[in-house]
Symmetry: C2
Subunit: 405 residues, 2 copies
Amino acid sequence: MIQVAVLGYGVVGSGVVEVIEKNQEMINKKAGCEIQVKYVLDLRDFPDNPIQSKIVHDINTILDDSQVQVIVETMGGVEPAYTFTKKALALGKSVCTSNKELVANHAPELLQLAKENNCNYLFEASVGGGIPIIRPINYSLTPEKIEGITGILNGTTNYILTKMQKEGAAFQDVLKEAQLKGYAEKNPEADVEGYDACRKIAILSSLMYGKNVKYEDIYTEGITKLTAEDFTYAKKLGTSIKLLAISKDMGDKYFAMVAPFMIGQEHPLFSVNDVFNGIFVKGNMLGDTMYYGRGAGKLPTASAVVSDVIDCARHLGKNILCFWDSERVKLTSINQISRKFFVRIKGTVEEVLPKVEEVFGKVSVVTCEELPEEFGFITEEITELSFNEKAEAISGIRSRIRIEE
Amino acid sequence: MIQVAVLGYGVVGSGVVEVIEKNQEMINKKAGCEIQVKYVLDLRDFPDNPIQSKIVHDINTILDDSQVQVIVETMGGVEPAYTFTKKALALGKSVCTSNKELVANHAPELLQLAKENNCNYLFEASVGGGIPIIRPINYSLTPEKIEGITGILNGTTNYILTKMQKEGAAFQDVLKEAQLKGYAEKNPEADVEGYDACRKIAILSSLMYGKNVKYEDIYTEGITKLTAEDFTYAKKLGTSIKLLAISKDMGDKYFAMVAPFMIGQEHPLFSVNDVFNGIFVKGNMLGDTMYYGRGAGKLPTASAVVSDVIDCARHLGKNILCFWDSERVKLTSINQISRKFFVRIKGTVEEVLPKVEEVFGKVSVVTCEELPEEFGFITEEITELSFNEKAEAISGIRSRIRIEE
C-alpha cells in the first residue's frame, strides 16, 4: 500500500481526493498496489466534510510519518510549497505537483534533490491540465531532437478569444462573462497578460532543451489590447487569433515567446477552441505531433496529478530520468525573429497605401465594409526590429498582430 | 551499453537503424546508456551497404548472444516473428515491435511471457505510427476509466478520402495515384478494406478494457464503395467522410467497429487530413483528449520503435505493467447500436419522399444540383438492425453512410 498526503485542499487538491475515490479500483490496478490518502494539509477545517478526519495543520505530521511515501502538492505559489517540497524530497518522499509557479522557478534544484534521494518530482499537471504532455515528451519522444513547440496553453484566454471570434464581442464584455462563469479569476492578470502561458512554455522549453529556460527571459504579450475590430479582419481573412506560446530550436539559437498570433485554417491549432488547449510538438524524425484536451478544470488537472502518483508507485525507490539541468538557456532576442505582420491603419487605401508601400515595400491589402475609415495590410516576412522601425515611420497604425504560418 | 538486434531490414527496420545513428547522442542520453545495433537479421545481403557488416541470416546467432538485451522486431506478419519473439522473451530479451498483426493476434501470451522473464514486450509503433498513443494510454491515462476511443488509424485511406473530398475524384483514380506515390501498396486490400484499422482498434480496445478484443469480432467495412457522388453530398452538408475506428465502453456492453462515417466540422477529427492520423480518447475524469501526427512512414514509425528501445533500457530486468489479459471481450452486435444514417436514393423528392417518410418517419432532405436524378436524406437516430429492415422496404437506395456525432 502507498500512503499519500495531499498539501492544499483547494480545487485541484480536492479533485485529487475525488479522482482517487471514484476510480479507486482502476488506480490500484494500474499502480500495482493500493493507493490511499492518509493526510490532507490545509489551514482550514472542513467540519461537515468527511475529509475532516484526514485534515492536519502541521506539515511535520506528514514529514515525520514514514508511511507517507508520496506527497501531492496542490498549494500553488512558491512558498511554502517550495520549502515543503524540499523537505519531502530530502526525506525520500516523492512529490507530484500541479504548481507551475514552483516548477518554473525551481525544477532543476528539486529534480536534482529527487535524484539524490531516489525518489521523484513529477509535474504532469503543471502544463496542459489533463492533457498528457510532460510524460509524452519525457517518455515517448525520447529519440527525437525536438525542434519546436507551439501551444495554446491557457484555457481562459482561449475561451475569451473564441467568444470574441464567434460573437464579435469586445474583450472587456467577454472577460466579465468568463468571470461570471468561473472561467476567469477575479484578478485575471496572470491569464490575460500571458504570464500563465509564459510559465508553461518555460517548462516545456526546458524539457525540450534539457536546460533551464527562465520564464523571465521569455517575451510575453497578453490579449488585453485585442479588439472586436481585429476579429472583423480575422473573419474576413478566414483566420483566427490565438494566444500562442512558441519555443523554437533554430540550430544555432533558441527562441521563445508568448503573444497573440493570427493563424490560418490549415494550422492544426486553428480549431482548438473554448477552454481547450492544444500543444504542437515537432520532432526531427517524426515530424509534427499534436496533443489536445482540457487544459484546466478540477478533475482533468487532478487526473494528471494522480497519473504522477501512479508513476511514483511504479517507481518506488527509483528515480525516473528527467533532463532539466540548471544551466540557463540564452534565448535570442525577439528582435531577430522574422515573420509576417498584420497591421490596421487609419485612412483609405487610396490615400495611405502609397506611404505604406514606400516604407514596407509590397503588402497585401484587406478592407472591411464595416470599417470604412481604416484598412488592413499584411507585410512580407521581416524581422521584429525592422517591423518596429518601419512602423515608427508611419502614423495612424491602430494595431499589429503577428502571423504564424 | 545495450546491444540491440533488428529483425528485418525493410522500411521500418532500416528506419530504426537510421534513427539510432542520426540521433545517437540524444538517444544515449535519454536511455541512460549507450544503445548500439549489433546485428540485423535479414534473408538478403546488402553488399554495397555498410549495414552488411551487421547482417546475419540465422536467428540463433542473436538468441545465443547474451550481450543482446533488446530485440527490434520489424518483420511484419505472424510467422516467423511469433516464434522468434517467444524465444527471445523466454531468454529474458525484451522485444520492441511495429508488427500490429502479431500484436493483435498474440499480445496477451507475449506480455505474460515477458512478465515471467522480467523483460518487456512493447509495441508503441503498432498503432498510429509516430504518434505516442500506447504509452499515453498505459502510462498517462492510468487513473482514467476510458469510455471511448475514436480514431483515424490508417493513413492510406485517409489520404484517399481527403483527395476524394477536395478534388471530387473517383476512388479508383485516387487509389492509383496513391499507389504511384507510394502511399498505397500494390495490393491495397489491407488498407482500403479496413483490415489494418481493424487490427489497430483491436489493440487500443484491448488496452482500454484490459482484456482481449479479437479483431475477428470487430465489424469492419472499407472505403471501396464510396463514390464521388457521396462526397458531393458531404460537401453540400459541410461534412467530411472519414474511415473511423470506434470502440466504446457503454457500461453494460462493449462495442467496436470500423467503417466510413460522415462527421461534421465540430468533430475534432474533421480536420485530420492526408496521411495524418488522429486518435480521440475519452476518459471519465479528464474528458476528451486527442493525439495527432504521422500515422505511418519510415522515420516516424522507427522513432516510435526506438522510444520502446529506450524504455527497455530504462527498465532492464524489470517488467513494466501492461494490462491486456487473455480473457476475450464479448462485443455487442452492431445491430443493437443506434445512430443517424445518411442515405442516397434514386428519384425526385416529390415522388419518393412520401414513401421514405412512411418507412423512416421524419427525415432531413438534402439535394444537390449536380445530381438531379436522386436526393439524400438523414434519418433520426435508429438501430442498425432497424435501419436495415427499413432500407429493405424501399427500392432505389444507392448508398448509406453512418453519421458520427
